[in-house]
């Protein structure tokens, strides 16, 4: 699944550590999500959408493998 987390985080001037703290996960998890190596759970995706003030579908794009 593609996502724009890195761009959105940088636009907000946040570090991975700060985003991780806000979402309640580890920095490694944020890093893995940004590198698209790990797809977040629905609650985590909703928390991110709320933080960035965007709908989930504009942050995450589903890709057929």
């Amino acid at each position: 699944m593609k996502n724009k987390i890195r761009d959105l985080r940088e636009q907000k001037g946040m570090t991975q550590e700060e985003l991780a703290e806000f979402i309640g996960v580890s920095r490694q998890t944020i890093n893995a999500i940004e590198k698209q190596k790990f797809d977040p759970s629905l609650p985590t995706a909703f928390k991110m959408a709320k933080l960035f003030g965007l709908p989930i579908e504009s942050i995450f794009q589903f890709e057929e493998k």
Binding site: S26, A32, P40
Partner: protein, 133 residues
Amino acid sequence: MENMKLERTKRIRKLAAWTWTWVATMAIATFGPEFIWDKHSFLTPFAIIVNLANGILMILANRDLFNHFDELERKIHLESMGITLGLTVVVGLTFSLLDQKDLISFDAEIGFLVMFTGLCYLTAVLINTRRFK
């Protein structure tokens, strides 16, 4: 994040404490009957029961730590546990069969399997952690 780290450290320390006491009570239950209390009829089963209770508390401490993991850590550990469980059953039974058919020169002791399980889990966690870096 500081609170999360403090809580994590607390749970790791709790698990480490129960693990070390489990190892210690295992050693006492193993060597005590021969070297400490000379096969006492009460102390031997008592030491074994204490070791079992300690092991259960160690498992509960491990569950506490697991429940503190975030979603990626859970995925890493669950996959590692799956691989470890599968390999332990398959390799364990092969090892036992080799012993039964006298194809190895030593007994297939459970200790070998425990060591194999530990090393397998450690390796699987390291490989899975690297995968998501």
